[in-house]
């Protein structure tokens, strides 16, 4: 605190201490960044890009061609949904024992991917893990998009989708109410709450950054757009005080919420008496699987982002390393779940449970079972090696393998359990049709398109929190404890 009130004021008064504060190199942030530097870098990703179709093509062909491909995919999904609503669910490969096909598997997979964002933003905030700072924003966006896509699938799969709103309690002339004892009704409350709270959390976090964009934008249209979205934020200390309180409380609320959502999703299955569904391990096992696939998706997105947008200083190898550690831990949890399922099946002595388990090992869907054991249990074990956790191509490969493995797990739980239930006379095999694959790939395209739009129009790293991190590291460097954490 070298300022003394008697020093004559001048434009470079800050130079008393050598100018504005500069971040010290820590594992989660490279050194040499200032408030202005991080703001300009992140805002520049939005404001300084663009250009006409022809002249901008050379610089932006990657983003634009990815946008074209993914948007075409999203349009295909839209067209396929229209056709589905016209023709009905007979387009899918579902039949009578297997009434829940790809649609429900996709639903569980997407909602699981949507869990890592809230986990990173909320739980890591409460635990004061500062590696969340540069990845929370895009992880929240990922959560929002994934949860939104997940919410589509149960509706797409309804026989009469135009009655989807019957799940909601509303005053109606039929004087009917939803069946509160059904997990499917709990599900709509869980998913809707999760979507709304994730949206609030994301938007509240964005407000100061939208104000930064408003103040930096030169074009009138952008000033207006970001200005309206920023709600007139001006960085008043009193506002910050309430803002921080509200943000922390949202984090505290999102923490039990994120655990409850996949628990309720797992109850959709566990409350049913089908062998393979009816299991008490399901809630924790589904939550662990959700984090597992969510972190895999975080890593899958982080690697291209940091590469193409040159964000290696903000999303460091340390971030990838820590995310890989979380994936490894989740992999062990999930492996425990697989073992517990097998053990309980045999220990129960229930012939249907035992037959179902043996069918997993050797039945029609056995290749899927062994493939996901390889993807979810064996492949992540290579993350025990620090060198591999810090090797970007290897990490990308592992994260893609886990994404695929988790999808296969969801598929197997949904389909294999149903295809052989109690009565052999009703057994049948589910074979996905071209439409099943169209909806799966179309939903991935929609997700990619939404994410590309987000990266282009909203700050993908929280500028306000990065400024805070710059000062925190600078202060630590001054007091000589910077290297400790």
């Amino acid at each position: 605190m070298a300022e003394s009130p008697t020093i004559p004021a001048g434009p470079r008064n800050a130079a008393d201490r050598g100018g504005p504060e500069v971040s010290a190199p820590v594992p989660v942030l490279a050194g040499g960044w200032t408030d202005a530097g991080v703001t300009d870098k992140i805002a520049g990703l939005i404001l300084n890009r663009g250009g006409s179709w022809l002249s901008g093509w050379d610089r932006h062909w990657r983003w634009r061609s990815a946008l074209l491909v993914s948007f075409s995919g999203a349009l295909i999904l839209l067209a396929a949904s229209t056709w589905l609503f016209m023709r009905g669910v007979g387009l899918f490969g579902v039949n009578i024992p297997v009434a829940w096909g790809f649609a429900l598997g996709n639903f569980v997979w997407w909602i699981g991917i949507g869990h890592a964002g809230t986990f990173i933003s909320a739980i890591l905030l409460l635990l004061r893990q500062r590696w969340r700072t540069s990845i929370n924003r895009y992880a929240e966006a990922m959560t929002l998009f994934a949860a939104g896509i997940a919410g589509l699938f149960p509706i797409l799969h309804l026989g009469r989708p135009w009655f989807a709103y019957w799940l909601l309690p509303y005053p109606n002339r039929m004087e009917l109410w939803p069946q509160w004892r059904s997990p499917l009704v709990w599900d709509i409350f869980a998913i809707a709450t999760y979507l709304l709270v994730s949206l609030l959390f994301w938007y509240v976090g964005l407000i100061p950054d939208l104000a930064s964009l408003r103040d930096k934008a030169r074009r009138r249209s952008r000033q207006l757009l970001y200005g309206l979205l920023a709600l007139g934020w001006r960085g008043d200390a009193r506002h910050w005080d309430r803002y921080e309180t509200a943000y922390l409380l949202l984090a505290g609320l999102a923490t039990p919420l994120v655990v409850s959502v996949h628990t309720v999703v797992s109850l959709d299955f566990a409350i049913g008496n089908t062998p393979g569904y009816h299991s008490t391990i399901f809630p924790p096992y589904f939550v662990a699987g959700a984090l597992f696939s969510g972190f895999a998706m975080v890593v899958t997105l982080a690697i291209p982002i940091r590469h193409y947008l040159q964000l290696q200083d903000f999303i460091t190898l340390r971030h990838l390393d820590l995310a890989a550690c979380v994936m490894l831990a989740c992999s062990l949890f999930v492996a425990y779940g697989y073992l517990a399922e097998i053990f309980t099946a045999y220990y129960s002595g229930d012939p249907y449970e035992i037959a179902m388990t043996q069918d997993r090992f050797t039945g029609v869907y056995a290749p899927v079972y062994w493939a996901y054991i390889g993807c979810n249990v064996l492949a992540p074990q290579c993350l025990w090696w620090r060198r591999l956790r810090r090797c970007v191509p290897a990490l990308l490969a592992v994260s893609l393998v886990i994404n695929a493995g988790m999808w296969m797990e969801r598929f197997l739980i949904v389909v294999q359990s149903l295809h052989r239930d109690f009565l052999p006379s009703s057994w049948d095999v589910f074979v996905p049709t071209l439409w099943d694959w169209t909806f799966l790939l179309g939903s991935i395209a929609l997700f990619v398109w939404l994410f590309l739009m987000f990266v282009r129009y909203l700050p993908l790293i929280s500028m306000a929190e990065m400024r805070g991190l710059v000062h925190e590291t600078a202060e630590e460097a001054r007091s000589g404890e910077g290297k400790a954490r």
Binding site: N13, T39, T193, L200, K216, L231, R234, L253, S260, H471
Partner: protein
């Protein structure tokens, strides 16, 4: 009529801002101070002497309202409005009402947290006199601002700006309504 909103001093570092606030509050506690920072500076609330805000209480109220309301809705639907006799099982099967009530409690609390934060902050408010000040667009980038409100009639702009300069502000401007 006084059309002056206040006097705005611009500081380059959060520490300079904090020190200026502490000194001003020591010397003249009656002054109305407003600080504008690009991120939530630690210790700023304490330096300004802010009291506890309304957000936690509103959040609690929203959560209780959402949870109780959700539970009562289910109880009313299942017991009073639309009782269904399923093999003589109790109509008020409350454990089954917990999941939806829990989700609604979280939803009510989250909505209340955000709504109370925005209402108490007076947002959305797209126009504010402070936006008229020169360089104020840097308040969301890397500059720290301290505004002394013009209500204190005995201080002229000149004395206040001199004071702010002494406290380490590198630029001082007048903010007009």
């Amino acid at each position: 009529m006084n059309s002056q909103y206040g006097t705005l001093g611009q500081f380059a570092t959060p520490d300079a801002l904090l020190q200026a606030i502490r000194q001003l509050r020591r010397e003249s506690p009656a002054m109305q101070l407003e600080a504008y920072t690009p991120y939530a500076v630690e210790g700023l609330s304490a330096a300004l002497g802010l009291k506890r805000n309304i957000v936690p209480a509103a959040t609690l109220a929203g959560g209780v309202l959402g949870g109780l309301g959700g539970f009562l809705m289910q109880w009313y639907a299942a017991v009073v409005s639309y009782p269904v006799n399923i093999g003589g099982r109790p109509l008020n099967s409350w454990p089954m009402f917990i999941p939806a009530a829990f989700e609604l409690a979280i939803l009510g609390a989250a909505l209340a947290a955000v709504a109370s934060m925005l209402v108490a902050n007076g947002l959305p408010r797209l126009y504010h006199p402070i936006f008229n000040a020169a360089h104020f667009n840097l308040a969301t980038r890397d500059q720290y601002f301290l505004c002394i409100r013009a209500d204190a009639a005995e201080h002229s702009f000149e004395t206040i700006s001199k004071k702010l300069m002494e406290l380490g502000a590198h630029t001082v401007v007048e903010v007009r309504e």
